[in-house]
């Protein structure tokens, strides 16, 4: 094997796995793994789950520091790539040395949507995306009493369950008419709504937030709703979705449209550059999708690592899998329900253990399970993958 140089920008689940997977496959070239953050690469899912309960900090990291050394992975921390120089085939930081690549993997992830909410930067208003967010939030939660969550998606709801479990007064404010609307079926939204309400949280649907209101010292005091009423708050978590980090790719002239556009083998419009994980928009059933989950990040990382080690393009064809833990409820999803034309509920939601099967044109395209891991495991084998492996639709979308 020649000493090719693979440079990976972003050391989240996708970037880390790509580096580890290359070495696992026996890749002999140089590997540089770049992160803008200064801590060791870490996983995000616990930030809204176990980490809030006091999971030890070192357990958040994927691997201890010596791993990178032993695997010959050059880990560049606190290194923010500002530009890609495609002519010189190098990534360029704001200050410091550029780094040449033979193959570049963009794994830049996503960023919480800059909530266009007035008052977004008040003291006591948090996002939950980076480790630093979770550290600050964890500390503030100790003394908080009135917790308001703006946005009823997974992260907001996981945090709500945690805060409620610690005896805080919790209000969830959601602009849409149901919870987790982008990611789950109405049946599932309905179930989680009932659960959060019966656990004691207040849930306001169809309720856009007008602004966050501060007191002296610019500490947050409340959330003003669109009708002018005020919900008291001394801690606010804003979780209104994320946006793919595409700036680098865009400035480098790569094709971008809500995500870096890649083909079935995760190549961008420049064949020497791949994009994986949250930042990549890939062909998935007749359309393009960006799946924001660990399984997708990891699966895409393995596919690219396979391509680079074997020299043969390996299409990505895993089905996305997602999980969310909220109080004692374990939600597990295989596939993507959007586009389904029929759903079927297996067992009874009242028993707090059920599944929703989603079909399109008679094919099973997604299964959502609550506290039914055996349905989930079976679904991983049953959900139709034909959609993501058909070559015809991949390029056309």
């Amino acid at each position: 094997m020649t000493q090719a140089q693979v440079v990976i920008v972003g050391a989240g689940h996708a970037g880390f796995t790509a580096a580890a997977s290359l070495r696992r496959n026996g890749y002999a070239g140089a590997i540089a793994l770049i992160t803008a953050e200064s801590c060791l690469p870490y996983q995000r899912p616990p930030l809204s789950k176990g980490y809030l309960d006091g999971l030890r900090e070192d357990r958040l990291s994927f691997r201890p520091e010596h791993f990178y050394e032993r695997k010959g992975i050059e880990l560049l921390r606190a290194y923010r790539v500002e530009e890609i120089d495609r002519t010189a085939k190098a990534v360029v930081p704001a200050s410091g040395e550029s780094l040449r690549y033979d193959h570049l993997i963009l794994a830049t992830g996503s960023t919480p949507q800059a909530a266009r909410l007035p008052g977004n930067d008040l003291d006591g208003v948090f996002r939950l995306h980076r480790r630093a967010d979770a550290d600050a939030l964890r500390e503030r939660l100790v003394t908080a009493r009135e917790v308001v969550i703006v946005g009823g998606g997974f992260i907001g709801l996981e945090f709500a369950a945690h805060a409620r479990g610690r005896g805080k007064n919790v209000t969830i404010v959601e602009a849409a008419d149901r919870l987790m609307a982008r990611a789950v079926t109405p049946v599932m939204s309905e179930f989680f709504l009932r659960e959060h309400v019966s656990a004691g949280s207040r849930v306001l649907l169809d309720t856009p937030v007008a602004r966050l209101v501060g007191g002296d010292g610019s500490r947050v005091q409340g959330v003003e709703l669109h009708d002018g009423s005020l919900v008291k708050a001394d801690l606010v978590v804003v979780g209104v979705g994320v946006r793919a980090n595409t700036g680098l790719a865009e400035r480098a002239g790569l094709a971008v449209n809500d995500g870096v556009l890649v083909d079935r083998c995760l190549r961008t419009s420049d064949p020497d550059i791949f994009a994986i994980g949250d930042c990549a928009s890939y062909p998935y059933r007749n359309r393009r999708a960006r799946h924001e989950c660990v399984e997708n990040a990891v699966g895409q990382a393995h596919a690219v690592a396979g391509t680079l080690t074997s020299g043969e393009s390996q299409p990505y064809r895993r089905t996305p899998v997602f999980w969310s833990d909220q109080a004692d409820l374990k939600l597990q999803i295989v596939g993507d329900f959007s586009g389904s034309d029929r759903t079927e509920v297996i067992s009874d939601p009242a028993g707090r253990s059920f599944s929703v099967n989603c079909y399109r044109d008679g094919a099973l395209i997604a299964v959502e399970s609550v506290n039914r891991p055996s349905d989930h495991v079976a679904a991983r084998k049953l959900v139709d993958r034909s959609g993501c492996s058909s070559p015809a639709q991949a390029e056309g979308s």
Partner: protein, 107 residues
């Protein structure tokens, strides 16, 4: 500290020290036991931390939860009566000296 012995497919053994309260999965990651992948970080959502516990040690373990049993069905390597998710095996003094065998594949 408690000792865990990992046995590779090649028969090669590696004994590591694990802190009490950490999981067998965590001890593996800390000690470059690459056969353990642990994609989900220990939340019983991936089954890529599958191990076979030595028969002599099975009696010392707390039994698996229903979720663990179900998730094991999704493991890539064959599931045997000694199969466990290593993220669910928490080290205690009672588990000192446990031996686990690593499966051929995790995905």
């Amino acid at each position: 500290m408690a000792k865990i012995t990992f046995v590779r497919r090649t028969g090669q053994q590696e004994t590591v020290d694990a802190e009490m309260g950490t999981s067998v999965m965590e001890a593996a990651l800390d000690n470059d036991i690459d056969e353990i992948v642990a994609e989900c970080g220990g939340s019983m959502s991936c089954a890529t931390c599958h191990v076979y516990v030595d028969d002599k040690d099975l009696g010392r373990l707390a039994p698996p939860s229903d979720t663990e049993i179900a998730m094991l069905e999704g493991a890539a390597a064959p599931v045997k009566p000694s199969s466990r998710l290593s993220c669910q095996l928490t080290m205690t003094a009672g588990l000192d000296g446990i031996t686990v065998f690593l499966p051929e594949e995790q995905y």
